[in-house]
């Protein structure tokens, strides 16, 4: 069975400091993992995705995430936060067997606050 846990519901960082949003997952198969961002009153937008290629994945707006199978983690990082990064971030896990049993599970979300 799949599950995804975002370890922090809220994270606050100062502008210009590093960002770390934590995500742990469980999956019975070879998972695909995603981070999506949702700005207020907007739909979700893909930041980056891991689909069994390189374990360090680079996304848009300077974000990156590292797939660590031994730790079942897929944490999202950014070296220097910008005010425009304030949003809600969702970690997503899906199975990649290509069967009708495949599921997609969204984490509860982490709201990122950027302090001036």
């Amino acid at each position: 069975a799949q599950s995804v846990t975002q370890l922090d519901s809220h994270v606050s960082v100062s502008e210009g400091t590093p960002v770390l949003l934590r995500c742990n997952y469980s999956s019975s198969y070879s998972p695909s993992l995603f981070w999506y961002v949702q700005h207020p009153n907007k739909g979700l937008q893909l930041l980056l995705k891991y689909t069994s290629a390189a374990t360090l994945v680079k996304g848009i707006n300077g974000f990156e995430a590292e797939f660590k199978k031994s730790e079942t983690s897929f944490h999202l990082t950014k070296p220097s936060a910008h005010m425009s990064d304030a949003a809600e971030y969702f970690c997503v896990v899906s199975d990649t067997t290509g069967s009708l049993d495949d599921k997609i599970i969204f984490g509860k979300g982490t709201r990122l606050h950027i302090l001036p």
Binding site: S32, G43, Q45, S94, L100, K103
Partner: protein, 116 residues
């Protein structure tokens, strides 16, 4: 491309009324997804289509919800009768191909439904 289009953006209705939400996916995308987002449950997949056919509707309450995709460029999600617990933001998303949900999904701006 205009992206995924949803209408209406906001809907306020009274309990017991019928509600119809509409979605136009990105042209050329074979897959269409309907999600519901609430504070308590987060994002939940209700139903998804492949080439207009329902692939999985296990996340959708069958007694009051129905989803259709009469052609490749239009889908509806209908709630009849509506209940206050249906109040949520409903997102439509589309993707080119599925491959176990490993493809990027493009989300619409959502419809905020309030049932009084």
């Amino acid at each position: 491309d205009a992206g995924v289009i949803q209408s209406p953006r906001h809907e306020v209705t009274e309990m017991g009324q019928e509600v119809t939400l509409r979605c136009k996916p990105i042209s050329g995308h074979d897959y269409l997804f309907w999600y519901r987002q609430t504070m308590m449950q987060g994002l939940e997949l209700l139903v998804y289509f492949n080439n207009k056919a329902v692939m999985d509707d296990s996340g959708m309450p069958k007694d009051r919800f129905s989803a259709k995709m009469p052609n490749a460029s239009f889908s509806t999600l209908k709630i009849q009768p509506s209940e206050p617990r249906d109040s949520a933001v409903y997102f439509c998303a589309s993707s080119k191909r599925l491959a176990g949900f490993s493809d990027t999904q493009y989300f619409g701006p959502g419809t905020r439904l309030t049932v009084l």
